[in-house]
């Protein structure tokens, strides 16, 4: 029998790795992938707690998170392509046109 805290711990570790990727990397593709890892970590917590409580709500909300993740990936990558056409770079430190 597994303790629920093991799943929550794994969820926290995955989320932290995602945060590290977002704050430390410069490549915008890898940043978007790190966001996906963070969303997946949240899903692990939802599923684990939902199944331990015997409640289907965890699965339903994990489903919603997945939908948002898919939408976010589609729009984020479209923005990335538009920016790449304009600036020819994937380096986030060079994308500072809004800064004055």
């Amino acid at each position: 029998m597994m303790e629920p805290s093991a799943y929550l711990l794994l969820s926290g570790i995955l989320f932290g790795i995602g945060v590290a990727g977002v704050v430390a990397r410069k490549n915008v593709l890898i940043i978007i992938m790190s966001v996906e890892i963070m969303l997946n970590a949240v899903n692990v917590a939802f599923i684990a707690v939902g199944s331990y409580l015997g409640d289907v709500t965890g699965s339903v909300f994990a489903f919603m998170v997945m939908t948002v993740a898919a939408a976010e990936a589609a729009v984020g990558l479209a923005i990335l392509i538009a920016i790449f056409r304009l600036k020819e770079t994937v380096d986030v430190t060079e994308l500072s046109v809004l800064k004055w």
């Binding site: 029998m1 597994m2 629920p4 805290s5 093991a6 929550l8 711990l9 794994l10 969820s11 926290g12 570790i13 995955l14 989320f15 790795i17 995602g18 945060v19 590290a20 990727g21 704050v23 990397r25 410069k26 490549n27 593709l29 890898i30 978007i32 992938m33 996906e36 890892i37 997946n40 899903n43 692990v44 599923i47 684990a48 939902g50 199944s51 331990y52 289907v56 709500t57 965890g58 699965s59 339903v60 994990a62 489903f63 919603m64 997945m66 939908t67 948002v68 993740a69 898919a70 976010e72 990936a73 589609a74 729009v75 990558l77 479209a78 990335l80 392509i81 538009a82 770079t89 994937v90």
Partner: protein, 162 residues
């Protein structure tokens, strides 16, 4: 059996995630992302969430990562044009803060105080489907509107002339 499988797939997911954020080339990251997503799907199966495990493989590993791979190939940044990433003080601090976040969540997880119960069948296709089309019908419909908005947004943004 569950603890052994949990440790195996948890280690695969964690290792894959670390590889995703440390690889230089985004294509290697995308392939390690598939590994992580499959390991997480296996964890879902361990908790009897069969529907979500299937969706995880189909939507994430199938659609989202393929989208990533398409974009990586489409913009095709040459190896020497990839951003040069050095360890600077502020970025080291950022990783340190992420490590603190992990420690913090470990503390919260230890104090969660939930009893360990065997996985009940709360994530089957039947159960999730019934909940989605009765109690959460409005949220489900709004989700479809969200997907429509994302689709229109992606097509508009990716057009050659905005």
């Amino acid at each position: 059996m569950e603890p052994v499988l949990f440790v195996i797939f948890g280690a695969i997911a964690t290792g894959g995630a670390i590889m995703v954020v440390t690889r230089k080339h985004p294509m290697a990251s995308a392939l390690y992302l598939i590994l992580t997503l499959f390991a997480v799907a296996a964890l879902f199966v361990l908790r009897q969430a069969h529907f979500l495990a299937a969706i995880q493989v189909i939507v994430y590993a199938g659609a989202v990562v393929v989208l990533f791979v398409f974009v990586i190939m489409l913009i095709n940044v040459p190896e020497d044009k990839l951003p040069v990433e050095r360890v600077t003080g502020i970025r080291f601090l950022g990783v340190l803060v992420a490590g603190l976040l992990i420690l913090e969540s470990a503390l919260v997880a230890r104090r969660s105080g939930m009893a360990g119960t065997p996985a009940v069948d709360s994530g089957s296709v039947q159960a999730v489907g019934r909940a989605l089309f009765t109690d959460y019908l409005l949220a489900f419909e709004i989700t479809s509107v969200l997907l429509l908005a994302a689709m229109i947004g992606a097509i508009t943004l990716a057009k050659r002339k905005i």
